[in-house]
């Protein structure tokens, strides 16, 4: 910290206020992140779905109606920290959790995951920069092979280092798949960017939020089907769901509320 301050005052000596301004933004963002981190675990315990009721005003009819609809289909929720990485973390946890008691599927998934690094290297990612992330991801899969308690898996996902490394790897897989299938995906990119630019700006950097295109890519890259329930202020009184990729048989259920993903359980 002292060093940072020294550097920031040194920056000002050199003359431009915008340097301090830049750093002030960074400092403020860090502070906000810290506050979020203090109140939200990376992945929470499983809670009764009724905890959501308290988050909305009683006279907020749109959400209260949709909540009722949600109760019909699901019983529990597991929340993730709203830090821009929630989709990847929710997906990573929910998927491994679902494989804990399904060793056949776990083996299949392990093979896909093991091979995925080579695919990325062949696509031009530098091996020594991605292997730490891949190793962490494989470590976690191997942990699941030992059939640990759910708490152990939860602890791993709440260890910031490990958890973030898994997020980085899932981001890399998403980016890799988007670039591999660029012919298909480039039609969905806004702002006249190439797929590569999109990946470098919206997929690979941490804390960049995920959209449909990210979900489709990751689901396809790992050959896992994901169902997302969408709950927003739109008309209709019911939550709408979408399965990625279409026509799959999902075992992972995520709840999307504008800007954030949590995990749902039947």
């Amino acid at each position: 910290m002292a060093k940072e301050q020294k550097e920031s005052s040194q920056g000002e000596m050199e003359g431009v206020n915008c340097l301090a301004y830049d750093e002030a933004i960074i400092a403020q963002q860090d502070k906000i992140q810290q506050e979020i981190a203090n109140t939200n675990p990376l992945v929470s315990d499983r809670q009764d779905l009724s905890v959501l009721q308290k988050e909305y005003a009683e006279d907020d009819t749109v959400y209260q109606l949709k909540l009722k609809d949600l109760y019909k289909k699901y019983a529990y929720i597991r929340k993730t920290r709203p830090d821009g990485n929630c989709f990847y973390r929710a997906f990573g946890f929910a998927h491994l959790e679902s494989l804990l008691e399904n060793s056949k599927e776990l083996q299949k998934f392990k093979e896909v995951a093991a091979k995925s690094k080579l695919d990325l290297v062949n696509e031009g990612f530098t091996e020594f920069t991605i292997e730490d992330f891949h190793n962490t991801f494989m470590d976690l899969i191997e942990l699941c092979e030992k059939q640990p308690s759910l708490q152990e898996l939860l602890n791993s996902f709440n260890d910031q280092n490990m958890s973030d490394y898994v997020v980085v790897y899932l981001r890399l897989l998403t980016s890799g798949y988007l670039q591999r299938e660029h012919g298909f995906f480039e039609h969905f990119i806004e702002g006249g960017r190439t797929i590569k630019e999109f990946c470098q700006q919206e997929v690979e950097p941490m804390s960049k939020e995920s959209d449909h295109i990210h979900i489709i890519a990751l689901a396809k890259a790992l050959n896992v089907s994901i169902l997302v329930e969408y709950m927003d202020r739109g008309e209709g009184g019911t939550v709408n769901h979408h399965v990625f990729p279409e026509g799959g048989d999902p075992r992972i259920f995520l709840l999307y509320r504008p800007g954030h993903y949590d995990i749902l359980y039947k």
């Binding site: 050199e14 915008c18 002030a24």
Partner: protein, 322 residues
């Protein structure tokens, strides 16, 4: 060094790997950690041959955050070069000033190649950038060979492998260079978005601190000030200030926005740092623009203090209405 660090730390593991990977100098770059600190590296890069930096070899520091590679490295040049200020963090999207675009799968090598790729590009007043004339840069390039670094005990004459006649960059380097191009594009576009709206506005903004004459500066400085404010103000102040009037009174909204940014700045600083805010001016006395900056900065600071009171009062009322 192996015993000193926790090998389980992801940053240590990664940096050890990078140190091994970059151990031998190449023709274009070399970087190694200091003997007593794995989190501070020194590097040397060769100026691109087809530029004003031809023949130059430049030395600098890389400071790595404990969260590396989740957070970006900071890069600071030590050799005068006419493109980047000496002793100051460089503003590339790859270094600490744009952490949002840093990618954990990048490495120190990526950063070095980006630096080389960046040298011939225009500084345009970005943080830590200089726009010296080609003659000055060529003179500095020649001089750079004499630089010796005491901290890492190396001389620029022998820091890198000599260029050979068939010194084509390897496939890997070419790939990294492409990446550097990508980064450059991003640095510009992030500047544009930061500055607020359109590209031509960004140009006005970025030329803010590379002034050549006092007159130019007085007209441009306020632009820079306003533009700095605009990102934070974006939410409450969607109309950006009119660019054509050089010095004009700020609207209360702008002042408020400015106030916001100043408070944020203050929060990020040590309590005594408000003095440092006035320090910049004397540094600029090469052009005798310094005193003008001082006046503008002092005036703005005063205005900021005054309107802070007004702002606080307004804010109070505003909250009350809610």
């Amino acid at each position: 060094m192996e015993n000193k660090y926790n090998l389980k730390s992801p940053a240590v593991k990664r940096l050890m790997k990078e140190a091994a990977e970059l151990r031998d100098p190449t023709e274009h770059y070399h970087a190694q950690p200091l003997e007593d600190n794995l989190f501070e590296w020194h590097f040397s890069v060769r100026g691109p041959p087809d530029s004003d930096f031809d023949g130059g070899v430049y030395h600098g520091r890389i400071v790595l955050p404990p969260e590396y590679p989740m957070k970006p490295p900071s890069i600071i040049l030590l050799t005068p070069n006419g493109r980047f200020e000496v002793g100051k963090k460089i503003c590339l999207s790859i270094s600490g000033h744009h952490p949002e675009t840093w990618q954990p799968s990048w490495s120190i090598r990526t950063a070095l190649i980006a630096i080389i790729g960046f040298m011939p590009t225009k500084g345009e007043g970005a943080i830590g950038s200089l726009d010296y004339t080609p003659e000055e840069r060529r003179a500095l390039a020649k001089k750079s060979q004499d630089f010796c670094c005491e901290a890492c005990d190396c001389s620029m004459r022998s820091a890198l492998l000599p260029l050979t006649s068939n010194s084509n960059p390897s496939a890997e380097d070419r790939q990294a260079k492409e990446l550097a191009q990508q980064i450059k594009f991003k640095a510009e576009s992030s500047l544009v978005t930061q500055a607020g709206t359109s590209a031509d506005k960004a140009l006005t903004v970025t030329s803010g601190d590379s002034f050549t004459s006092a007159e130019q500066q007085t007209t441009e400085r306020p632009h820079a000030e306003q533009a700095e404010v605009s990102p934070a103000a974006g939410v409450e102040d969607p109309q950006t200030p009119d660019e054509n009037s050089p010095i004009r009174p700020l609207s209360p909204r702008q002042r408020r926005a400015q106030q916001h940014s100043r408070q944020a700045q203050r929060a990020a600083r040590e309590p005594g740092a408000s003095r440092a805010m006035f320090a910049p001016a004397p540094r600029h006395n090469e052009s005798h623009a310094g005193s003008v900056v001082l006046i503008v900065v002092l005036t703005l600071a005063l205005a900021a203090l005054i309107f802070r009171r007004i702002y606080l009062a307004n804010e109070y009322k505003f909250n009350y209405d809610l």
